[in-house]
C-alpha cells in the first residue's frame, strides 16, 4: 500500500551546524549538515578557522627559522613536516646529508608516524562511541613515543630538530636502547587495539561499508596516504619515489579493498606494523659518523632563480613543499601541499546519503590535522 502525503504538507530539511566547537570535529573544522531525519542530504565544509599564514611567514624568516613553522603546520607529525622542508632546502643548496643523519631522520619520521597513527586510533575510537578506553590506550602508547622525542629534541610536539644539511645535535647516547624499548610497548599497544576494536562486532557494524570512496574518485580528488590506499591504490611515496634510504629497506604497503571507513582504519593499523619493522631495520644500519656536512656555511644562501617541489610520505599522505628561491637566505615563495586538505575534499562525497552518526566517523577516518589544512 502506498500512502500519498497531501500536496500541501511540506517538510523542511534540518540544518545542523557541527563545529567549530564540537567534540568530534578534530580541531576547529566546521561542517553544516543538511539532514532529513537521520540521513545526511548535503554537507558544506568550512575551513579557515586556523589560518595563520605559515607559508607567508616563512618568506620572512631564514631557512633555519622556517623549520619551526613547519612543525606547527603538522603538529601531530612534526618530524615528517620538517623533513619535506629541509629536503627542499637541501635540494636547492645541493647539500649532501651525512649517512648517520639520514638514518636518524628515518627512525624519527617512522616513530612519528606511529605516534600520529596512535592519535588517530584513539580519536577514532571515541568518534565511534567507546567511552574513553581506546583514547587512553592510544594516549599511553603515544606518551612513550613523545617522551622519547622530548629526550632527543627537548620538546614534546614542536621538535625543530632537523636542519638543512642534517640534525640540530647528536641524539642521546642511549638512543638505540630507548627506541627498542619504546617499540616493545608500541607492539603491545597495537595488539591491544586489534583486540579492542578490530574484533568488535559493533565496531565492524559501524565501520564496514560506510563512507565508501572508489579508487577512481580518490585519485581524482587528489587523495593520498592511508586514505587513498584504503581504496585499493598502492601509492606510497616511500616506495614509488624512494627518498633517504627507503630503497634499502624491506617493507610492504598495506592497501584496502573496499575503500570504506574500516579499511582506512585497518590500513593504518597495518602500516604501523610496517613502521615498526622499518625502524628495526634502520637501527641495524645505524653507524657512528657526523650529523652535519663538513662544509656547512654559517648562513645558508640559496642560488638565485631556482625552484623545487619535494614530496614525502607523511602519516596523512603526501606532504609536499614547493620552494622558490631568488637568492638570499630566505625563500621567495613557499607553498605547502597539504595531504589533509586534499583528503578532506572527499568528505562530502563520502558522507552524503549516510547517517548523521556516519558523517562523524567518516570525518574521523580521514584523520585531518586542521592546522595543516588551514596553515
Amino acid at each position: 500500500m502506498v500512502i500519498e502525503s497531501a500536496p500541501d504538507f511540506e517538510t523542511q530539511d534540518l540544518l545542523i551546524n557541527v563545529g567549530p566547537q564540537h567534540p568530534s570535529t578534530h580541531g576547529v573544522f566546521r561542517m553544516i549538515l543538511e539532514v532529513d531525519g537521520e540521513i545526511v542530504k548535503d554537507l558544506i565544509p568550512h575551513i579557515g578557522y586556523l589560518h595563520r599564514g605559515a607559508e607567508k611567514l616563512c618568506e620572512n624568516n631564514d631557512f633555519r627559522q622556517g623549520v619551526g613553522y613547519m612543525d606547527r603546520t603538522e603538529y601531530l607529525a612534526s618530524h615528517n613536516a620538517e623533513l619535506s622542508y629541509v629536503m627542499a632546502v637541501e635540494a636547492l643548496a645541493e647539500l649532501e646529508v651525512p649517512e648517520r643523519a639520514q638514518w636518524i631522520r628515518m627512525i624519527l619520521c617512522e616513530l612519528n608516524r606511529l605516534s600520529s597513527h596512535f592519535m588517530f586510533l584513539g580519536a577514532f575510537g571515541v568518534d565511534v562511541g567507546v567511552f574513553g578506553t581506546p583514547f587512553i590506550y592510544a594516549w599511553r602508547e603515544r606518551e612513550a613515543l613523545i617522551d622519547l622525542f622530548e629526550e632527543i629534541s627537548g620538546d614534546r610536539m614542536m621538535y625543530a630538530y632537523f636542519r638543512a644539511g642534517g640534525l640540530a645535535w647528536e641524539v642521546p647516547g642511549n638512543f638505540e636502547e630507548r627506541v627498542r624499548e619504546v617499540l616493545v610497548s608500541t607492539r603491545q599497544g597495537m595488539k591491544d587495539f586489534d583486540n579492542l576494536l578490530t574484533r568488535n562486532e559493533i565496531f565492524l557494524a559501524r565501520t564496514k561499508n560506510v563512507g565508501i570512496i572508489s579508487a577512481e574518485d580518490a585519485i581524482e580528488l587528489g587523495m593520498s596516504g592511508p586514505t587513498l590506499r584504503a581504496s585499493g591504490v598502492s601509492l606510497d611515496i616511500r616506495k614509488s619515489e624512494p627518498y633517504m634510504y627507503y630503497d634499502q629497506i624491506d617493507f610492504e604497503v598495506p592497501i584496502g579493498t573496499n575503500g570504506d571507513v574500516f579499511d582506512r582504519y585497518i590500513v593504518r593499523l597495518k602500516e604501523m606494523e610496517q613502521s615498526v619493522s622499518i625502524i628495526e631495520q634502520c637501527l641495524e644500519r645505524l653507524n657512528d659518523g657526523p650529523i652535519m656536512p663538513e662544509r656547512m656555511p654559517r648562513m645558508l644562501r640559496l642560488p638565485e632563480g631556482q625552484e623545487v617541489y619535494i614530496r614525502t610520505e607523511a602519516p596523512r599522505g603526501e606532504y609536499g613543499i614547493y620552494l622558490v628561491s631568488k637568492g638570499g637566505n630566505k625563500p621567495w615563495r613557499l607553498k605547502v601541499r597539504s595531504a589533509c586538505l586534499s583528503n578532506l575534499q572527499a568528505l562530502k562525497k563520502m558522507s552524503v546519503g549516510q547517517y548523521v552518526a556516519d558523517a562523524i566517523i567518516i570525518l574521523g577516518s580521514i584523520d585531518i590535522v586542521l592546522s595543516e589544512v588551514d596553515r
Binding site: L14, L15, I16, N17, H22, P23, S24, V35, E38, G125, V126, D127, V128, G129, V130, F131, G132, T133, I136, Y137, R140, L196, L197, N200, E201, I202, F203, L204, A205, R206, K208, N209, V210, V233, S234, L235, D236, K239, S240, D250, F251, E252, V253, P254, I255, G256, T257, N258, F262, D263, I266, V267, K270, Y355, V356, A357, D358, I360
Partner: protein, 374 residues
C-alpha cells in the same frame, strides 16, 4: 490488601515513611554509584579515577553535587519555558516511582502490588516523555534530534522488555514481585529463562540509554542530546534519574532473574543477610553495565531499531509461546532451559545479519609486494 503483613495499622503513614526512607537512601546510593562507575571505568582504562576529594576520592560525588548546585540555572532565550523547566522532573519522578514495588528484603518494600511488574514497566517508560520534552523545549537542534532518538528507542525497546518480564511472570505464575522472589527460593528463574535474561539485559541497556545504546545522548554526535542546554541543578536531576534507573533495573534483575533475597539461601535468612544478598546481585548487573560501557562502541540508530524489531521482539514472542505451551501441558521446566539456550545461539547468529547493513564484503586487506606503485 497486603499491608497486614507489616503489622502497621495506618497504611498511608506506613507507606509515606517507607517512601521517604527510600528516596533519601537512593540519593546516597546514586552518589555511590557515580563514584563506583568512575573508579571502575578508570581501572578499565588504566587510570586512577578520583583520588583527591576525601579518602580515595570518596567525596567526589559530593563535590560534584555542590558544584552543580552552585551553578547558574540557564535557560536559552527561545526555549519553551514550561517544557524546558518541567522536563527534568518528568524524567526524575517516574524513575523514583519505580521504587515503590522493589523488594529489598522480606517485607522491606513500600507496597506489594499484585501487578508489580506491569507497574514497573509503566513507570519506567513514562520517563521518555521527559526526554522528548527536554529535546523539544530546549530549542536546540542537537537536543531535538536526541529527543526524537530517545522516543524511537524507548518505544522500540519497551516491547522486548515487557515481553521478557511477562515470560518470567508466566514461569513464576505471578506479576507480584514478592511472589516472584518467593517462587525462586529453590531455583532462580535464570535457569528456566536464559534467553530472556540476555534479552532483558540488552533491552535494559537500551531503556537506560547506556552504551552501546546511548544514541540519544551520543557525545560525539549530538553532544549530550536532550541535555545539551541544561546546566546546574536541572542537569543533575537528569543525572540522578539516570543512575537511579540503573539501580532499579539492577534490583529488578536481582528480584526477577536471580531470586532476590530468597535464592540460594532460602527465605528464613535474617533481614541483614537478605539485603546483602540483593546488593550483591544488583552490583553484578551494575558492574556488567559499567564493563560494557568501557569496551563497546555505539550502535547507529537504524541498526538499533532493526535489532529490536527484527530480532529481539520475535525471539521474546517465541519464548512466550513456548512458555505457554510448556506450562499448559505441564511439561518439565528443563525444556525451557534447552529452548532458551537454543534461542541464545539463534540470537548470536542473527546479530551479525541484522546489525550489518549489507552482505559483508571480504575484509581481507591485501598487502602489495615490494615491486613499487601500481
Amino acid at each position: 490488601m497486603n499491608n497486614g503483613i507489616y503489622g502497621i495499622e495506618i497504611a498511608w503513614l506506613d507507606a509515606v515513611i517507607r517512601l521517604h526512607i527510600i528516596v533519601g537512601l537512593m540519593t546516597v546510593v546514586v552518589m555511590g554509584l557515580i563514584y563506583v562507575e568512575r573508579k571502575v571505568l578508570a581501572r578499565f582504562q588504566q587510570r586512577l579515577g578520583p583520588t583527591r576529594t576525601g579518602p580515595a576520592g570518596l567525596l567526589q560525588s559530593v563535590a560534584d553535587g555542590l558544584k552543580l548546585v552552585g551553578k547558574e540555572d540557564l535557560r536559552p532565550r527561545n526555549a519553551d519555558p514550561w517544557t524546558f523547566e518541567l522536563a527534568p522532573y518528568m524524567v526524575f519522578i517516574p524513575v523514583f516511582l519505580g521504587f515503590v514495588i522493589v523488594p529489598f528484603a522480606f517485607g522491606m518494600q513500600v507496597r506489594i502490588l499484585e501487578l508489580g511488574l506491569i507497574y514497573f514497566v509503566a513507570t519506567s517508560s513514562l520517563g521518555i516523555i521527559g526526554w522528548v520534552m527536554a529535546g523539544w523545549g530546549s530549542d536546540n537542534r542537537y537536543a531535538m534530534i536526541g529527543g526524537m532518538r530517545a522516543a524511537a528507542q524507548g518505544i522500540s525497546y519497551e516491547l522486548p522488555l515487557v515481553l521478557s518480564l511477562i515470560s518470567v511472570a508466566m514461569v513464576s505464575e505471578s506479576y507480584n514481585l514478592n511472589e516472584i522472589v518467593l517462587s525462586q527460593s529453590t531455583y532462580p528463574n535464570l535457569l528456566w529463562q536464559p534467553l530472556v535474561l540476555v534479552i532483558f539485559i540488552i533491552a535494559g541497556l537500551a531503556e537506560l540509554n547506556r552504551t552501546p545504546f546511548d544514541i540519544p545522548v551520543g557525545e560525539s554526535e549530538v553532544v549530550g542530546g536532550p541535555f545539551v542546554e541544561y546546566s546546574g541543578i536541572r542537569w543533575s536531576f537528569f543525572f540522578l534519574a539516570e543512575y537511579a534507573a540503573l539501580f532499579i533495573m539492577g534490583l529488578i534483575f536481582a528480584a526477577v532473574f536471580m531470586g532476590g533475597w530468597a535464592w540460594p539461601l532460602g527465605e528464613e535468612l535474617g533481614r541483614g543477610w537478605q539485603i546483602l544478598l540483593v546488593t550483591v546481585k544488583t552490583s553484578l548487573f551494575i558492574f556488567l553495565i559499567f564493563w560494557i560501557r568501557a569496551s563497546v562502541p555505539r550502535l547507529r540508530i537504524d541498526q538499533l531499531m532493526a535489532f529490536s524489531w527484527k530480532i529481539l521482539l520475535p525471539l521474546t514472542f517465541a519464548q512466550v509461546l513456548i512458555n505457554g505451551a510448556v506450562l499448559v501441558y505441564d511439561a518439565p521446566l528443563w525444556i525451557l532451559t534447552i529452548t532458551g539456550l537454543v534461542g541464545i545461539a539463534v540470537l548470536v547468529r542473527l546479530i551479525e545479519r541484522a546489525v550489518r547493513p549489507s552482505p559483508a564484503i571480504s575484509n581481507e586487506v591485501v598487502t602489495a609486494g615490494n615491486e613499487g606503485a601500481s
